[in-house]
Symmetry: D2
Subunit: 339 residues, 4 copies
């Protein structure tokens, strides 16, 4: 931690800061400069709350050198974590995975048919929402428990592990009974009670980045899960909110290689939610693989024009089949052995 | 709803859209233009899901004329809603209220002392967090139930109604036992299970705007609460996330008069979280009153330099006293009768 | 400047950094920590280019303590600068000024009529665009030199100093022949050739904040003008670009008091461009005065419904007259003596 | 164009709008709805200024169906434009190009050495800045005309066409004497005088997207160049400004395929400025090619640790050589014939 003093800070101000640092159990190392003095703080183990320092007279600002996460950081855990989703391995060195399926589970026919199709086309997992977070209360909110049952059924029939969203701490147990991978949606990335609850289960978690979360906050949110004992976490970039409205969100693809540097956890990309536009999904899926993503989530629907949500960004069966052929060729090209 | 066709859409495409609109139970009114055709949709009662239409060949985009909220809209509810918080009235025509207190309840001494002081200085309600959402898991998370008890105690001793945050659906009952006004924090603005639960209680709710929520999404989130039967909702702008880092967030003060146009619900401003900087709190508090806010939330701490969170944005007792003198003069100037 | 080393940096890495700092003519002060070492840089006079340091092995990042501006900073120039626009004084301690007029000069009748009206209503300066930056080339681009002549005429007839935008370095001379205050528009805030040219004239400059410029970049842009010798600069916040689309831009009003802390230059607010909505202009104008702005720019048009640009955000004569009555009462209330 | 009336608009309001539309020379087609009336506008040729309509009583908002650009739109120009830069062809169907070189021309030795190296490694053009836009005035601003001469020299010695930035209208002639492709930087994307001047020359232009420009504004800026008669324009995405600070900017890669849909102009990607971090440049370069970019701009410097600007994002010679091997394999894989 570095404390930057005002240009006008007095020697007494500087000494008061030194003393406050000492009272916190750390050492202070003043660095006099031509314009102002800065004071280095030594001996802290990780992130320090800076409120007390910021209050002192003459203090301009505090700069943190440590990060608000440690367990998810590659600094202290250099080996890559491989997440195992009912036998499908996700992470560095593994062939990238494709998670496919509709935005929402709508009926047995819809989800089973999709599951069998995406399995045949080469998908590794099945996705489908049972609990749907929607902007307004007057639209379809998901089939809820019935949706979970249908998703699990489709998983069994196709042999694919299933992924679905959990929206509140008290439904974690229920969702974990059906899902192989529990998803935290972007709106809930900082629902800390939910994260803590997911840290206590023995199933892997797919944590989506919040719409306006920095990478630092994203990793700190994952830290909540790891801190409770669950290290099986996959991070997923799904587009951030910016001023641009030509796409649904702005896909921040550069975070795939960046997160690989900062953390040992696997990282996936969701080009469907990120772009919101069917025609952009195939190029961004392939780009994600090339940028180093350990997997992608792709929305597929038997009849997108009848989908109850997110139709415009869902691929048709035919579109998905074409994309999977490209994914297979690209993954081979990138040097991954077929499983 | 208006459906805009591609420049290259055929007559058959247009007819297919007309038919799809008819199947949804609405009427289609094609508007041929020189560059492209647009198709108006008539007869819908409120927001229509556009997924099916967007799937059809030749459709470029769909423009919504209706909004994803109705109960919170002034269009259908022209009279202002006055929210009653244990006898303190908030809303149009009422003298603007000042909610003051520390970010977090830390001890009996701290919260009672603050309560008595802010009451004497002229505050209308006491705020204090018992459950604290924090970016990383390794920092102070609040005193939880003990914090609620201390807050309620401070409320009784000072005679001030108390406001505190609730973070999950299953703690709504607990928090409602202690609080006069239940706050939903920015990170939980779209925690829909929580909103629904708050819609079922008989206490007022203070809904904070999400860091990256549009005004439309903000009002749609409030709609979740009203849709369950609770109309006692106060909206609160607390700064949005932008590219600017000189302040903690960017205070979007213009939404105060804007929300007054769009909705009948009262709107408050939180200059402490919005700016994150003590010196900016007084000018922005006064500006908020002038811009038409029905109240403000201000962080006050007996010893900000020892605060466990948000010290740098908390006013000292002396600073708050000075601010309240200005608030009183300004409120008088604006023509509000003293209560 | 503080150099933060990686967790894995070796002693040799640290020594190489120390040496590089020494070669730049500064002293290095290593601060060993439990997680990583940081190295303070002493002796620099102002901002240092960090490229060379960032290249060295083991360096994680560089943190700047100095700012990219010095002449505009209050640190080195504590007294407030008062800008004199043809006799109208703008800055700390002066009665806040109101600059009013149409977005664009459209005709002699329009601009003279407006000038006489706003003068009578109490405005201090007349604004009007002759060169108009527009998103696309197929819309009205201003009357150009004819517009300058008409504006100057209206200024003479009303007795008001005139403000107008200059868009390129080679038209600075021309615009300076007519205008009392030369405006740099938001799109040109980092048109450095233009800024340098304006630094060489002897007339005051109104520098508008870029749509996505940080306060630091805004002040550094002003530094270009001061560095060439012209200290008569007024800074103007006119809304920044964010994800919110309910208003044209997001008025970042908190920068008014913030800039007053950071710089000695006066700061004005443009609520018309910031909100883009006529009904929001009066409340945000008054809020700006209360927040500490040294003036406001308000668009006024005799017939907004016939304006060639920005009609929806222009006040009518009647609306402006009402606003000026409120401005007068508020300015009196704030304790400014009438001129 | 669609005009949306307020819920409370009267029949007289609607008729007044109909009449105003008629006076503008268009036809009005009212679409009564259950909540409100909308009015379609027929017969307009392209974008219509909406100011007059927005002024009328009862009008809530106006929705544009046409775009502020036409010449750059694929709607009216379905065939792809191929830009020819001194014999190097850029655009659909051509092998993607790599433009490489330092941020700034610093010396003859530096630029010639770099030119020869990148040519040997397989680059198609040489980049190098002679006029450098920098945030503050106290840092290196480029060698200016001397830089142009050195760049041209390096181009001749290596046989590579050269690309460099032009910052003001009055230096367009000078820069065009030396450069094969004239670059407009992000800060100048809406420097309309500069764009118009570039529309009058007979050399190709590389237009960089502004830091906070929407795709629509980006295309409308290009329209300024085409409207003056120069159709040889390459669009370049170089990262947008968002709340995220972990990378220098946010690379909005999805605009590559999006712009290919909307426009016939070629699109390139600059991963160096977009990410600001050397380690992210190779993965994002390859991802750009896969996403459909017609070329990339990559910063390369013989000694990045001594670069006068942008060192941390510049590749070393060795790093560039490795990247070019990957680019060659990827381009082959994507099916482009070697030139």
């Amino acid at each position: 931690m570095l404390i930057v003093m005002n240009h006008t800070a007095t020697q007494a101000d500087i000494e008061a800061v030194n003393q406050a640092v000492a009272e916190m159990g750390f050492s202070a190392a003043p660095i006099p400069g031509s314009e102002r003095t800065a004071i280095g703080v030594l001996g802290n183990q990780g992130y320090v709350d800076d409120s007390k320092i910021l209050e002192l007279p003459g203090v301009q600002r505090v700069i943190h050198v440590s990060k608000p996460y440690k367990l998810v950081s590659r600094d202290f855990h250099p080996e890559d974590t491989i997440v195992d989703v009912a036998g499908v391995r996700v992470g560095q060195g593994c062939r990238p995975v494709v998670v496919a399926g509709p935005c929402a589970v709508e009926s047995e026919e819809q989800i089973v048919r999709t599951a069998l199709f995406v399995k045949k086309a080469g998908a590794d997992m099945l996705r489908g929402g049972a609990f749907k977070p929607r902007t307004g209360p007057h639209t379809f909110q998901g089939l809820r428990e019935e949706g979970l049952e249908l998703l699990a059924l489709a998983g069994r029939e196709s042999g694919l592990p299933v992924v679905t969203e959990v929206m509140s701490p008290d439904s974690v147990g229920l969702v974990a009974d059906y899902a192989d991978l529990l998803q935290v949606g972007a709106r809930n990335m900082q629902n800390f009670d939910l994260l803590r609850e997911l840290g206590r289960i023995r199933k892997p978690v797919l944590l989506k980045r919040g719409m306006s979360a920095t990478v630092e906050e994203f990793l700190a949110a994952a830290e909540y899960i790891l801190a409770e004992g669950n290290e099986q976490v996959i991070l997923c970039e799904r587009g951030i909110r910016t001023f641009e409205t030509a796409t649904r969100n702005t896909l921040d693809l550069a975070v795939a290689p960046l997160i690989r540097e900062l953390s040992h956890l696997p990282v996936m990309i969701d080009p469907s939610h990120a772009t919101g536009k069917r025609s952009l999904v195939p190029p961004m899926t392939l780009a994600a693989l090339v940028a180093g993503a350990h997997g992608v989530l792709v929305e597929v629907h038997p009849e997108p024009e009848k989908a109850l949500s997110d139709g415009p960004q869902s691929l048709t069966f035919q579109g998905f089949e074409r994309l999977m052929a490209d994914v297979r060729r690209m993954t081979d090209f990138l040097g991954f052995a077929r499983e």
